[in-house]
Symmetry: C2
Subunit: 314 residues, 2 copies
């Protein structure tokens, strides 16, 4: 598995942002740990999703590139696919629920993608996506359940280890498990003793329950502010990877998430979206005791509406 | 003059944050320039002010350290003095208007300083400050009009030139002129052909008028959102330095400032306070044509209330 991550790193080189790793004296003091934040909020299109999308789309054949790429996503993956399409000259079609955050829809269109909306109460993205692929021959690049996407997402943790050496603990947000499984594969290779923990919102704890019971659990439309983790479950590819490579899974509350967004805003001057702060939320809240360790955290993205940020800051 | 900046650099080493320089493909595309942002919002206590305060306070004699340090400031300088006091074991007293931003007052107290409030309608900080100094023997470390403070502030631009080499243009926010004159001294030494331009809000354009008329102008309590530039005028020390070292002065509107805060938030995921974005506001608005050049900009700080940010994002 690690070879796919190393290949993805080579493909991404010169195209993606090798994002900085930031530290905070205050965060270290509050947690008693040495904490290293891998800032994927500074990634192109504002989230780690660029890595997986670029890796997958750059592997397509000329004929498939000609026909175009389709995806369904509530946000960051859509923007990433749209941007990569523009960079590689591939037409992109994004199937998106009508109630997707305005900033994400606008950014997706600004990158030149065609957005196809659907009513999530009365239709499924799978239906619409299947019809369009059959009619037009588009290649589906799904948001997480794809080996090339997983391999691309693993490059963020790979860079973190390259930059900071072995770590005792690596905390990664978990939605569909693409970033988490890719990160865990990188960790196994770069620092075999590192404990990799996936973090989910309490109200969207499908992956936590799936991990502990080894049965796939599903949570539909969870009411978490961390919109990037609203995926109903892990995927066919990511679930076994999570079981094999991840050491533990934990949850954080909605208050923990908002506290962490505020901490990063006020103390570190970083704009990080709710889904992106889950690792920081886990150590700031004490849900994970990181004291004495060298801890890596993936800040997965920074795309959020002004009104969401205002609500959190209020 | 440059020797004082180089000495300040030596004193700061190991104590301050050597802040990163960030870039944005979008900003470069919008302006047609290569833009380098020196991120003093990531400085300790959230603004460049740490540099000047540390430089000045670390030069005090043992006897003066024993008595304590006093300053009057609406914000970032106060936090910096308070933090430096804690680091160096010096008691700090901050004279602050009653209507200072809550976040700045709280942060100042959290660093261990004693805050003395005054009603800016009925008393002056100079009166209160003079009385306290006479009674207690405190040393005054003013927010900008002090050679050691100016020298310390110059180290941010010094680092930017060390990191990026000669630049064609350097844009620096201007309040009392400490950061601007220090930056211009550094530029003269590191890149003699670099054009240094100070930026002020239109409604607080005292330094712009002072620069162009060579007579000191004053603007009392200007209604700008950029609270760090509400200083009434340049100082006895900074005015001659600005005349000697700075090439030009320009203004930006309140809308330009808010657009720049939003750009940095949404596109670069950076929290920068209104006073800190003046250089970005100048090139994004077209008030300064930066096209074709290599442009340095000091993002001077990132301390702002959630309600101010919410107002700007709304």
């Amino acid at each position: 598995m690690i070879q796919a991550v190393l290949d993805a790193k080579r493909r991404l080189s010169g195209h993606h942002q090798r994002t900085p790793v930031m530290t905070s004296r205050t965060l270290n003091k509050k947690t008693g740990a040495d904490v290293f934040l891998k800032c994927e909020n500074f990634q192109r299109a504002g989230a780690f999703k660029f890595r997986g999308a670029f890796n997958a789309m750059s592997k397509l054949s000329g004929a498939d590139r000609e026909k175009g790429v389709l995806t369904h996503s509530s946000g960051n993956h859509a923007q990433a696919v749209a941007l990569v399409g523009r960079l590689l000259g591939i037409r992109t079609i994004i199937v998106m629920p009508q109630d997707a955050p305005a900033i994400k829809r606008a950014a997706t269109e600004a990158y030149g993608a065609t957005v196809v909306s659907y009513d999530s109460e009365n239709d499924t993205r799978e239906n619409i996506s299947a019809r369009l692929r059959k009619e037009k021959g588009y290649t589906l690049i799904p948001p997480f359940d794809h080996p090339d996407v997983v391999a691309g997402q693993g490059t963020a943790a790979l860079e973190l280890f390259e930059c900071k050496g072995p770590l005792d603990l690596l905390l990664v947000p978990c939605g569909g498990g693409g970033l988490l499984s890719g990160s865990a594969i990188a960790a196994r290779h770069m620092a075999p003793k590192c404990t990799v923990v996936g973090i989910e919102p309490e109200v969207a704890d499908d992956a936590v329950r799936s991990f502990h019971t080894k049965q796939l659990h599903t949570v539909k439309n969870p009411s978490t502010i961390a919109d990037g983790t609203r995926t109903p479950s892990l995927g066919k590819i990511t679930f076994p990877l999570v079981l094999e490579y991840v050491n533990d899974m934990k949850t954080v509350s909605e208050d923990d998430i908002m506290d962490a967004v505020r901490f990063l805003f006020y103390r570190m001057k970083l704009v990080v979206e709710p889904s992106g702060v889950l690792g920081v939320a886990a150590i700031l809240s004490g849900k994970i005791d990181a004291s004495g360790g060298r801890v890596g955290i993936i800040l997965s993205g920074g795309n959020l509406d002004g009104e969401v940020m205002s609500k959190i800051l209020a």
